[in-house]
Subunit: 203 residues, 2 copies
């Protein structure tokens, strides 16, 4: 679904949603101009992005804030329930597992995997950590569709392949390496060092 | 510097760099077509992005791989030396502190800060962790220009303000909240939950 929106616009929808949720409760209407100013963006761009959702703004009044939040939440599947799993329970995997913000987007991180026996068979942040050999049983049992890779670069592709074989359709990859995936599987890459380098070259 | 490149192009430069570095040593020339195919991108876009660097491709031969890597490294300031600091030594802060990939981009994560006395006064991954009250002395002493915020949302703006007052010019924010910064300070936001939500809505 939602295939018609450019990824660059899609990426901004959570930013709008967070901003709208941060507004005082008694703020009933919000204009695209207000949103644009608060987020340091152009007003035309804001209107264009929001037009991908079902929200309808009214001239000289703006959007009904509650309606706009609902429209964004619908678009981002916040009211659904999708399961995610994590591979790699080093410091980063633990951070992701302990992070509480996923439920706002209708996502439950339900299990984690590692190949180190010292890290498996326990719970971290209340979530079970399994040996990677149990991936097929657990991922299929959950019907999990999302995975977060927090493994070293050398393992990223093989873990991705394993997960894809178990039905994972979306992969968030923190390993500093590109992942190949077949059509129908979406991969997003977060390279922390590259992000800092991008900042550095903007100074 | 490098103000003329669109951020969207700049974001792809580390991807090209990583790909080029992953090629076999005896691969001397690379064409934009090869890069485009390997990364699943359009060839025109690759050529346009690379044109922002000093690299010059030759018709029917492509780019000299070594020259192209150097041009990308120059553009991304990989051969410089910039210092970064981290705020918040929870699981995520530890993961960032322990990550070795920054040096590839000429960045040294040199110190970390927390406000929890149980976490400060020690070294993590060989880097000193100071009380946040020492930020001014340490950040100015290092001449650090980059900061990574791994603090809870409620602290992010005040820590950002503190760092900016100490001379920080680029902030990578992992806290799930928008940071306001004055002109001349660049902020990039990595919202892990939002990234997973974006993936989820693309399925």
């Amino acid at each position: 679904m939602n295939k018609d929106i450019p990824v660059i616009s899609l990426q901004r929808l959570p930013v709008y949603l967070n901003y709208l949720k941060s507004l005082p409760e008694d703020k009933i209407y919000v204009s695209s101009g207000l949103i644009a100013e608060a987020l340091g963006m152009g007003e035309v761009l804001v209107r264009k992005d929001l037009a991908y959702t079902s929200a309808v703004g009214r001239p000289r009044v703006g959007y009904d804030k509650g309606e706009l939040i609902s429209a964004l939440e619908d678009y981002l599947c916040c009211n659904g329930r999708r399961y995610a799993v994590i591979a790699g329970i080093g410091a980063l995997g633990r951070a992701v597992l302990g992070y509480g913000g996923f439920c706002n987007y209708g996502i439950e991180v339900a299990a984690a995997f590692d190949n180190d026996p010292a890290k498996t068979g326990v719970s971290v942040a209340g979530k079970p950590v399994y040996d990677i050999s149990e991936a097929e049983r657990v991922v299929k049992g959950l019907g999990a569709e999302l995975a977060v890779l927090c493994v070293p670069a050398a393992y990223a592709q093989s873990v991705a392949d394993l997960f894809i074989g178990c039905g994972i359709k979306g992969i968030l990859n923190f390993a500093p390496v590109l992942i190949n995936a077949p059509e129908g599987v979406v991969v997003r890459h977060i390279d922390v060092a590259a992000n800092l380098a991008i900042l550095s070259s903007m100074l």
